[in-house]
């Protein structure tokens, strides 16, 4: 593929509220190849979420360009290129599990592309419900589910469209430690099922799913990602771009290996630098 899955050039974003100007992002250059799992980490308020929203076109950058597989953010949204998982599950309380997972398919009906047109094949909702472990809860309403189960629904909703790019904004931050760990491996298992760039291009339209995962947890970043981007304190710049070459599929036991520890140490050092310590 000639164009990267996500390409940013000189992206900057400043928030203006009355006379107050807050520079959130500055001079962001980024190339994410198709199929890569990228974690973004940085101190609080460094613009991690802003970066994700600029890529999704939910915020317009003040400078620079964003290209999603050669498309603008707007075109990418129009063709349902993104699967967004926000910090809260953000489920519609009047829709049951199945209804929430199917929601995005019902919206913007004319905008989506056919599977052969660059999309992954939309996943069958029932298969997806089983994959995220919600079999038997198809008709449950959100308030009847635990926080972890709600976040499973949010994850399934993002995967349901077969979107080539997943944008995740600290999706597991509000969960308890055990549930969080469970969710990390659930995410990896769904993502790793997708063909990597080297795999047979005849499956799933030949595309691999690219993930941009915002987090404030070092361990989470190293455990999940192929690559960790470290942002500096505001205004956010990319101050480190670290490859994580741990073998896949990732397992919980890897967290105890010297390799893992070395990577977390590396990321921690970059974070300290970025926070100005």
């Amino acid at each position: 593929m000639a164009e990267g899955a996500i390409v940013l050039r000189g992206v900057a974003k400043t928030f203006r509220r009355r006379s107050e100007h807050t520079a959130a992002l500055t001079a962001i250059d980024l190339d994410i190849p198709e199929g890569q799992f990228v974690a973004v980490i940085g101190p609080s308020g460094c613009g991690k979420s802003t970066l994700l929203r600029v890529i999704a076109g939910l915020l317009t950058p003040d400078a620079g360009t964003v290209s999603i597989a050669g498309l603008s953010s707007l075109e990418a949204r129009r063709t349902k290129w993104f699967g967004l998982v926000p910090q809260t599950p953000a489920l519609l309380p009047w829709r049951d599990v199945r209804g929430n997972i199917g929601l995005l398919g019902e919206l913007n009906r004319h905008g989506g592309r056919a599977p052969g047109d660059g999309h992954l094949i939309p996943v069958d909702v029932d298969t997806l419900i089983a994959t995220v472990g919600l079999h038997g809860f198809e008709s449950a309403l959100p308030h009847e589910l635990s926080g972890g189960m709600q976040q499973r629904v949010a994850l399934a909703r993002a995967f349901a469209l077969g979107a080539p790019v997943l944008l995740m904004d600290e999706p597991f931050a509000s969960l308890d430690e055990l549930t969080r760990e469970e969710m990390r491996f659930l995410l990896l298992s769904i993502w790793e099922k997708r063909p990597r760039p080297a795999a047979d291009p005849s499956t799933d339209g030949g595309r691999a799913r690219t993930v941009l995962f915002v987090t404030h947890s070092l361990e989470e970043a190293v455990l999940l990602a192929d690559r960790v981007l470290v942002l500096s304190a505001r205004p956010g710049r990319i101050i480190a771009d670290l490859a994580i070459d741990l073998p896949r599929p990732r397992v919980a036991a890897q967290a105890d290996t010297d390799e893992f520890v070395r990577h977390t140490r590396e990321v921690r050092a970059a974070l300290r630098l970025g926070a100005g310590q």
Binding site: R53, A56, L58, L74, R77, R78, K80, F82, G83, L84, P86, Q87, T88, A90, L92, P93, W94, R95, L103, L104, E106, L107, N108, G111, G112, L141, P142, H143, R157, L161, L167
Partner: protein, 255 residues
């Protein structure tokens, strides 16, 4: 009747019986004159001796109140959607709503009769004006009660403004509208009845003023009781609607 329904109905039933019983006893024991305070039994007789008349009067006032409420609801929804579309419009609309809320609408009724004639129009307008402000304010708050994350998920697939309004914002506003409707049942009925005091020839308000002229206090009280009963019917209807439409709310949030 199931045990649960009985447990719901029995306590208020006992409370009302005790209250009315005490009232009846008080009037009889102290020989209170009918002109000062008629006994509940006298009020009841006033109602039961003319079921048809009360029913017709109640339907007139009820229709006015309902029409006024429906008009107010429609205007409130349109206005709230407009007001929440941009901050500038919100700043324009909300002060107007607040001023309307402060107008003593009931006092305006005689002026409206001059302008709109002796038909039901001025009464419907009073019922609409009196319920319009709470409905609009709650609709605005409800439409804005959407979590930003929810809106972003919808926008991430380029959902249109219309889709976001119909699929997300209006359903989110429903509980707020239901709460406003509960307040408005009483307001609309009171507005319609009081507006009937002037220049009308039918309805509970007319019955009330006619009874006043002949010093028939038990009929005046009867009119008030019939109006209160209509309020109970209205609240029950809203409760049933809520149970159907707001099934998705956690039970502890239901009223």
């Amino acid at each position: 009747m199931t045990g649960r329904a009985l447990r719901t109905i029995l306590p208020p039933l006992v409370a009302f019986t005790v209250l009315l019983g005490a009232w009846e006893l008080l009037v009889r024991a102290f020989g209170i004159a009918k002109l000062i305070l008629p006994a509940p039994s006298a009020i009841a007789t006033a109602i039961t001796s003319d079921w048809g008349g009360w029913y017709r009067a109640a339907m007139v006032t009820g229709k006015e109140a309902l029409c006024g409420f429906i008009i107010a609801l429609a205007v409130a929804l349109v206005l709230a959607v407009v007001a929440t579309s941009t901050p500038a419009l919100e700043r324009a609309v909300l002060p107007v709503v607040t001023v309307v809320q402060l107008i003593p609408v009931v006092a305006l009724a005689p002026a409206l009769v001059i302008g709109l004639g002796f038909g039901p129009a001025p009464r419907i307008l009073v019922a609409a004006l009196i319920t319009f402000a709470p409905l609009t304010v709650n609709a605005v708050v409800g439409l804005q009660s959407v979590e930003p994350d929810m809106a972003e998920v919808l926008r991430s697939v380029h959902a249109s403004r219309r889709e976001i309004l119909l699929r997300l914002r209006l359903p989110m506003a429903l509980p707020y509208l239901a709460a406003a409707a509960r307040v408005c049942v009483g307001l609309a009925l009171i507005g319609a009845m009081v507006a009937e005091w002037q220049g009308s020839s039918e309805g509970l308000g007319y019955t009330f003023t006619r009874a006043q002229r002949s010093l028939a206090t038990e009929r005046m009280w009867a009119a008030v009781f019939v109006l209160a009963f209509m309020g109970v019917v209205g609240l029950t209807a809203i409760g049933l609607l809520e149970r159907r439409l707001l099934r998705w709310r956690p039970t502890r949030l239901r009223t």
